[in-house]
Assembly symmetry: C2
Homo-oligomer: 252 residues x 2
C-alpha cells in the first residue's frame, strides 16, 4: 500500500503524498487502527485519502468548512479553537500524534472549530463517508471509533471541571500534568518536554491571561516545581504538581 504521487500545494499548507501505512506508523496502537488485525489494518489503510504535511501556523480546516474528512495526526501538534460572535478565540484543545481531528463536524456536516498546526506536522486524511461504510463491516474498528469519540467527550468534561471549578494555580498544574501523561503514553519523557504553544495560547485555553501564566511559571520555578527555559520545560516535582492539581497540597 505504498503510495507515490506528485506533491501539490493549497493556500497556507503544503500537501504531499508520503510513503506510509498504518502498520508502519508508530501511532497505530493509539490511533484509529488500534487493535485491528493485519487484514483489517490493510483495509483501513486503503481508504485513507492521503498523508499530507501541514506547515507550522497553517490551517487544516476552519469553522464553517464543509465536512469531508477526519484527520489523524501522524506527527506534530495542533490547536483547535472556537470563535464567538465578538471574534474572540477560545482554544478548545491541543492535539498531538495519534489523536483525531474533526469529530465535532459530524453533527452538522461542517466544522465547528478551526484547527491550526503548532509546528510542522503530518496528518492522515480519512474520508468520513468511506470510513462509515467500513465501520459497518469491522466491529473492532467501530468499537474503537466510538471509544475515541467518547474519549473526546470525557476530555472536554475534564476541561469544563477545570474551567468551572479550579483556581489559576490548579488549572496550570493540571495542564502540565496532562501534557506530561500524554507524552509518557507516547513513549517520550514525562518530565522534560517542549511546550509547543505560546504562553498566550496556554492562557487562552485555561481561561487566564498571558500575564497570569507568566507569573505562575515564575512561581513554580521559585518553588522548585519546574525548570523553564523558553518553551523547554522540566517537571522537577511531579508529585507536588499532582497534589496541586487535585487540590490536596498541604504546604504553600
Amino acid at each position: 500500500m505504498i503510495k507515490e504521487l506528485p506533491s501539490l500545494v493549497i493556500p497556507g499548507a503544503t500537501i504531499e503524498i508520503l510513503k506510509a501505512s498504518c502498520a508502519s506508523c508508530s501511532m497505530h496502537q493509539l490511533c484509529l487502527p488500534m487493535g485491528l488485525d493485519n487484514n483489517d489494518m490493510e483495509r483501513l489503510d486503503q481508504i485513507i485519502g492521503r498523508r499530507r504535511k501541514v506547515a507550522r501556523g497553517a490551517t487544516l480546516f476552519r469553522i464553517g468548512d464543509a465536512f469531508q474528512n477526519l484527520y489523524a495526526i501522524r506527527l506534530g501538534h495542533f490547536k483547535t479553537y472556537q470563535v464567538n460572535r465578538e471574534g474572540a478565540e477560545q482554544i478548545t484543545g491541543f492535539q498531538m500524534a495519534g489523536e483525531l481531528l474533526g469529530m465535532d463536524a459530524i453533527s452538522a456536516d461542517q466544522h465547528h472549530c478551526t484547527a491550526v498546526a503548532l509546528e510542522d506536522s503530518e496528518v492522515c486524511e480519512i474520508p468520513f463517508a468511506t470510513l462509515q461504510q467500513l465501520l459497518a463491516e469491522m466491529p473492532t474498528l467501530l468499537r474503537h471509533f466510538h471509544r475515541m469519540m467518547s474519549q473526546e467527550i470525557t476530555r472536554e468534561q475534564s476541561v469544563m471541571l477545570l474551567l468551572g471549578n479550579m483556581q489559576a494555580t490548579q488549572r496550570f498544574a493540571a495542564f502540565l500534568i496532562n501534557l506530561s501523561s500524554r507524552y509518557e503514553a507516547r513513549g517520550y519523557s514525562p518530565n522534560t518536554f517542549q511546550l509547543r504553544m505560546s504562553r498566550e495560547e496556554i492562557g487562552n485555553y485555561l481561561g487566564l491571561t498571558i500575564e497570569s501564566i507568566s507569573r505562575l511559571l515564575s512561581k513554580f520555578k521559585k518553588e522548585g516545581l519546574v525548570r523553564v527555559s523558553n518553551r523547554e520545560i522540566e517537571l522537577l516535582d511531579t508529585r507536588m504538581l499532582k497534589a496541586i492539581t487535585a487540590g490536596t497540597e498541604t504546604c504553600g
Copy 2:
C-alpha cells in the same frame, strides 16, 4: 411491541416497565430513532431493555459504575456532574427529553459522570452491546448515532467557550437563550418555562456562585429582560438577551 411486566424497585429509583415504543414517543424525531423507517424503528424498539421511571433526586448512574446502557430521556430533566478529588462537583450539563445519557462511558467501559433526575423522569434503557450490533446493520441509525455523539462534543465546546471567555452576565444570558431554544425545538414556549434546576445548580454549571446568579436575575428583572417568580421564568426581551450572549449589546 407493547410490553407489560411487573414493576420493580432498585435503591433510589423506581423502575417500571411502561407500555411504550419509539413510534409512539413524541421525541422520536429528536432522539436516536430520528429518520428511521417503520421497519428499522421496530428493530430498534426491540433492543430497548426497558422503560423506567427515575424519581426526582434519584441517581440513574454514578461515576465508576460499569457501563452497560445508554439512556434516552423520554420525559423529564437530568443533570450530569463530575466530581474532582476534593469532592467538589462540576455540573457538566442539563439534559432534557430526546437527549442521550451515558456516551462518555464508552471510552473506558465505566461512567465518568453521575446522572441525577431533576424531576420525576422516564428513560429508555439502551443496552450498548446490542445497539452496536444494530449499528452495523442500519446505516441510518449509525449515521444518526454519530451525529448525536458529535453534537455532544460540540455542545461541550460551547460550554468551554462560555467558561473560558465570557463574563458572568454573558454566561447567564447564554444559559437562558440555550434553554429557550431547546424548549422551542421540543414544541414548548421559548419564552416561558420552568427552571428545573436550583440557583445553586445553575451557578455550579456556569462557574459562578449562587449569589451571583441571584444578583444577575435581579439585574435582568430590573432591566425588564425577564420576569421571574421562583423557578418560573419569562423571557421578555429575547433580542437583548441574545445580544448580551453575543457580547454585542450597546446600552448598559
